[in-house]
Symmetry: C2
Subunit: 242 residues, 2 copies
DNA sequence: CAGACTTTGCGTGTTTTTTACAAGAAGTCC
DNA sequence: GGACTTCTTGTAAAAAACACGCAAAGTCTG
């Protein structure tokens, strides 16, 4: 039984890659570690999973403590379980990513205490633990998801312009998209509601505002429907090393 | 068992969905549980992760103990961590699937002891724990992978006919494929080597044998290349409930 | 060994999707 | 009112996907 007991000296945690979109740039919310190991380095927000807490719930809790937000898009990506990934013991972590509207984010006590800060994906440097690997895996998953499901809207305010939407896709996919073709394709899916409103306070012709047609989408999904986008041929340099 | 419960805090395990292909049918290797909980029910092969063992290594070990095979295609899919998924305590499991050539499989002591048996995916019934859910997640992942990467070959013998290959795709994708279009598409990818050999022992015109061009594929991937297949419009009933 | 049987192997025309590409319209600012 | 910026829109060409049927190769059997 003592031998058996060895199996239970390990712990599990969740780590959450929280994506936001701002200024045409894909961002991720990182915390600054206040204690060893990796004191002073940036890291993904995460926590040990409580004994009576579902995995998904733990990821949601980490997110909510840091951002005050709940009911946002949250998806499990992978477990990371290399023996030495945590210097203090055996900790297997399950990685999640979430998509939030950055404008809804407010600084919570937890995020203040942990010095949470948004980082452009392109400027993320060496993170604590194996968090670069985790971040990369989550980013790759997002990149793939965004082609096959309309999750991008989770990152935009409720009302947005087609240009904003295109910039979002370009940022995530790291590609350039043709404006006319993009609009044609998106509009032909019939998932956007034209709000008959326009932008305000811009020093040029204001663009029309649209809204994502959530219910219509859910109906289409139930009827079996596939959302898909392809990239153009121009490929800028990747945001993260492959 | 009460003693067990006292010590029991939390543990990790891996579960492995081992796919094989035979008689035009996608199969999965299940074991028959010899002990409670779920005694007598079919279950996915799995094990607790040793304290000093990487997650991936644990999945590989489970596979090798059962099949004697190593160096096969193995991919992590997801972690399953609902609080009550294991009746005896908190066990988070990480699901993997592997693709093996069923003809290479031999009964090992472990598989004999655990009464391992191949089951057609379409005839899998209620499994122990949350293993139906795990199986389904792995199958969905395979279905998606097979469209974007040439992993199907892992399930076929080294030499195969185009018809066998097509049947494999049809089984995995649960769809019908047009023979001429399928052959055109596959051959146009230039990933098959025509072996200049033909089938033997069949009571009809023997088909040509092909081989997957592993090195050529790896070269193409390095150069940035995308493998893709789409389904036809005819949709047979799904193998597993969605 | 001829005829029946099964499975292989192959080409073309049609439709759909993707791509490339530019100019005028609507607002703001000075 | 003129300069400036961004918004909006269509068409033609190329590529990919799709539907579709028949002759040839080999085995079997009587």
């Amino acid at each position: 039984m003592t031998e058996f007991n060895n199996f239970f000296k390990s712990a599990f945690s969740v780590d959450n890659v929280i994506f936001g979109f701002d200024e045409g740039d894909l961002k991720v919310l990182l915390i600054n570690r206040g204690a060893d190991p990796f004191k002073g380095m940036w890291a993904l927000p995460g926590d040990l999973v409580y004994p009576n807490e579902d995995l998904d719930a733990a990821a949601g809790r980490v997110l909510e403590e840091l951002t005050g937000l709940r009911d946002v898009y949250l998806e499990q990506v992978n477990a990371f379980g290399a023996v030495n990934r945590h210097p203090l013991g055996r900790v297997i972590t399950v990685a999640y990513y979430s998509l939030i509207k950055i404008s809804n984010y407010v600084v919570t006590p937890a995020s203040f205490a942990q010095q949470a800060k948004w980082h452009s994906l392109s400027s993320v440097e060496a993170l604590a633990f194996d968090h670069n690997e985790i971040l990369n895996a989550c980013y790759q998953r997002l990149k793939q998801r965004v082609r096959t499901r309309p999750v991008g809207f989770e990152l935009l305010p409720p009302k947005f312009t087609l240009t904003q939407l295109q910039h979002l896709y370009e940022a995530i996919l790291e590609t350039g998209l043709d404006k006319r073709n993009f609009r044609k394709k998106i509009l032909s899916m019939n998932l956007l509601v034209d709000l008959d409103e326009t932008q305000e306070g811009v020093a040029h012709r204001p663009a029309k505002l649209y809204q994502f047609a959530q219910e219509r989408y859910e109906k289409l999904v139930r009827e079996g429907f596939s959302f898909e986008l392809k990239e153009s041929k121009r490929k800028p340099t990747p945001l993260l090393p492959v």
